[in-house]
């Protein structure tokens, strides 16, 4: 298994390509690599302070991020901005 840095790079590449399925799979592998390195934490959750007007939730447990990436284009776009620092 690749280390977390390699898996994160694959995740960033998938986000840049706009490939939701590949990004979801890459994030799953990133999480697995983290657990393999003993870096898994209790209940980590990605949160934000946007209003309900947005089409994505304010709190997404990290293990649910791949599902959200696959089904929610707006969440995918947010993650793309976060992970690549590239504005749309």
């Amino acid at each position: 298994m690749a280390d977390t840095k390699e898996e994160w790079q694959r995740y960033q590449e998938a986000l840049r390509r706009g490939d939701r399925a590949a990004a979801a799979e890459a994030f799953r592998r990133y999480q697995e690599a983290k657990r393999a390195e003993g870096k898994g934490r209790s209940r980590p959750t990605l949160v934000n302070l946007s209003t309900r007007a947005k089409a994505y939730p304010n709190a997404v447990p990290l293990d649910k991020i791949p599902d959200e990436l696959e089904r929610n284009p707006e969440f995918f776009e947010l993650m793309r901005r976060i992970a690549t620092k590239e504005n749309s």
Binding site: R41, L46, N48, T51, R52, L78, I82, K85
Partner: protein, 222 residues
């Protein structure tokens, strides 16, 4: 002049952030704390004109800042300029730096600090009763808290803003988790300071840490 501190607390994001404010900012400011159910428009409208600093944490959008259960507190065209005139304003919220912040400055705010995109971080949902002990959340929230405390020390808006940016850099440099590191860098990239960079407020008394932690707060939804 007192401070106006408005803190929403009704979901995991606002609980996590309000925990850090309760632990590290509340002990320094005078007792106008619009916390949880008080984080609403009417209490804000009454307290803000008397204050020299407005500190807010809640959900937001490009043109609005909200309090408890997303009740509108400040929205473009829906506030009286005397609520913001001459005030140093810091909003921890999503995207308020895009339109609301410039509008506040146009209506007389001395300075405005906010963010031009979503404010994001990773927190531990298991620590919702003691959110200030969350080391993952601290990587993003402590720079904000320390920036606010720099303002409360009497530093200029620019000095406080630079404090926040420098602390993001420090946390990002040592963070090993790629997602958390990305969140830190994303928030840093979107931080914005508008208005008079030399604006400052009356220094508040310092508190010495370790300061006793606040009591455990109720679980969300209790």
């Amino acid at each position: 002049m007192p401070s106006t501190l408005t803190l929403a607390d009704f979901d995991l994001a606002t609980r996590s952030a309000s925990g850090f404010f309760i632990r590290y900012v509340v002990p320094r400011v005078e007792p106008i704390h619009l916390y949880a159910m008080l984080a609403r428009r009417t209490p804000f409208r009454l307290s803000a004109p008397q204050s020299d600093i407005i500190i807010g944490m809640g959900h937001g959008d490009i043109d609005a800042f909200t309090g408890q259960n997303e009740a509108i507190i400040l929205a473009i065209g829906k506030y009286n300029p005397n609520e913001v005139e001459g005030k140093v304003i810091k909003l921890l919220s999503c995207q308020t730096g895009v339109s609301l912040g410039p509008d506040l400055v146009r209506n007389g705010a001395a300075s405005f600090q906010g963010y031009t995109d979503d404010y994001v971080w990773v927190c531990d949902a298991d620590l919702a009763s003691t959110p200030w002990s969350d080391e993952m959340a601290a990587t993003c929230l402590m720079p904000v808290v320390n920036s606010i405390n720099a303002l409360l020390d009497g530093k200029t808006s620019k000095e406080a803003f630079d404090t926040e940016l420098a602390q993001y850099d420090c946390y990002a440099e040592i963070e090993e988790d790629e997602l958390i590191k990305s969140c830190i860098e994303f928030n840093r990239m979107n931080a914005i300071l508008l208005g008079n960079r030399e604006a400052k407020v009356r220094p508040r008394p310092k508190i010495a840490f370790p300061f006793p932690p606040p009591p455990i707060i109720l679980p969300l939804g209790a």
